[in-house]
Symmetry: C2
Subunit: 209 residues, 2 copies
Amino acid sequence: MKIRVAQKPPDAYQHGDLREALIDAGVKLLTEGGLAQLSLRAAAQLAGVSHGAPYRHYRDKAALVAAIAERGFRTLTKAMRDELERSGARKAGRKLTALAVGYVAFATAHPAYLQLIFGSGLSKEDAPESLRAAGEEAYLVLRDVVEAGIRAGELRKGDTDEVALACWSLVHGLSMLFIHGAVPKPETAKLERALTERVVLLLGEGIEV
Amino acid sequence: MKIRVAQKPPDAYQHGDLREALIDAGVKLLTEGGLAQLSLRAAAQLAGVSHGAPYRHYRDKAALVAAIAERGFRTLTKAMRDELERSGARKAGRKLTALAVGYVAFATAHPAYLQLIFGSGLSKEDAPESLRAAGEEAYLVLRDVVEAGIRAGELRKGDTDEVALACWSLVHGLSMLFIHGAVPKPETAKLERALTERVVLLLGEGIEV
DNA sequence: CCTACCGATCGGTAGG
DNA sequence: CCTACCGATCGGTAGG
């Protein structure tokens, strides 16, 4: 005889929005165990439903993955916007620094999102439209700042997308190196922020004589 | 009665070096199907041996993954050194550009390596010593160029590791964005190279006025 | 939304 | 280095 242990989380969703609850569960799995731990079945269990239930809301696993990635983009966009506002920056250089700090903080706080967005088989072609849009929105936060900076004469003249690409690459790369542990990760959020600011400053001023 | 179809590749390894053959197989799996397709069993099949055989050479799956990642680092190091030599660059700015071109070319030619190195659970702590050393060697190629550049007065004075971190972040981020398709990937290697050079130039000269 | 089931794959081990 | 086996997990579907 098998003892049946209650595995349903005490506060699983209650008839409410299983669709959202599954995303929550997926994020949790991702955060705690990485990409390999993300499965529809485990998400269903975490949400307190049977493993057949998710198919009422998602056609297949890829659909849930896309939904999680979409939320990731939205969270990232918000993190950047919040930091931008919080900083009260008015000049392009300061604004870009704020965006960078927001991006890196998001990345190190939720490494699973970046792993999912950039690490899974989600390539741009077969991504659902809403996911593509969420990614585009995040990019536009950066692009707008760059464009305004060039127009205001605070950034050197140049192709807006190319300058934005340089900023994005720098910050994304820094985030990935932090996440992977390739760089000794600063021990406090404050130190992380300071290092991020110095690295961004290098892009601002240039490293050559 | 079951028809037995020959699944052994015609030119699988022959009693030679199964250890190396399994790495080859793993790289192939990774390249063709991404991280999710990498399994010890599939690698064994590709190498033409039974699925129990790999355990004679690798304690577990993680050991094979580490071996593949190590080869990835060595290939990357070679790609950077080759491009550096090929360029004939003598000044730091040109050298850094060459390293960047080599890095990005490696990344887009072998996206699976970067996915494995930076995307799997290989964190710095539990990595075998040889893997850590291979990663360090790749970093030193960059660091040496930066250090020499600062000493020669071709790069602004500053913390060597911090400047190197900025370079690495920029190039790594650019590579990841290319791989993921977040940026419209240049259609030819020549265009990719040109874009990489322009982005690196932005770091060299700075984007602020 | 559940139970029961399918085929497939996996990591790993025993025993030779 | 092979065969045979283990327990586990997975995505997905049928049928209710």
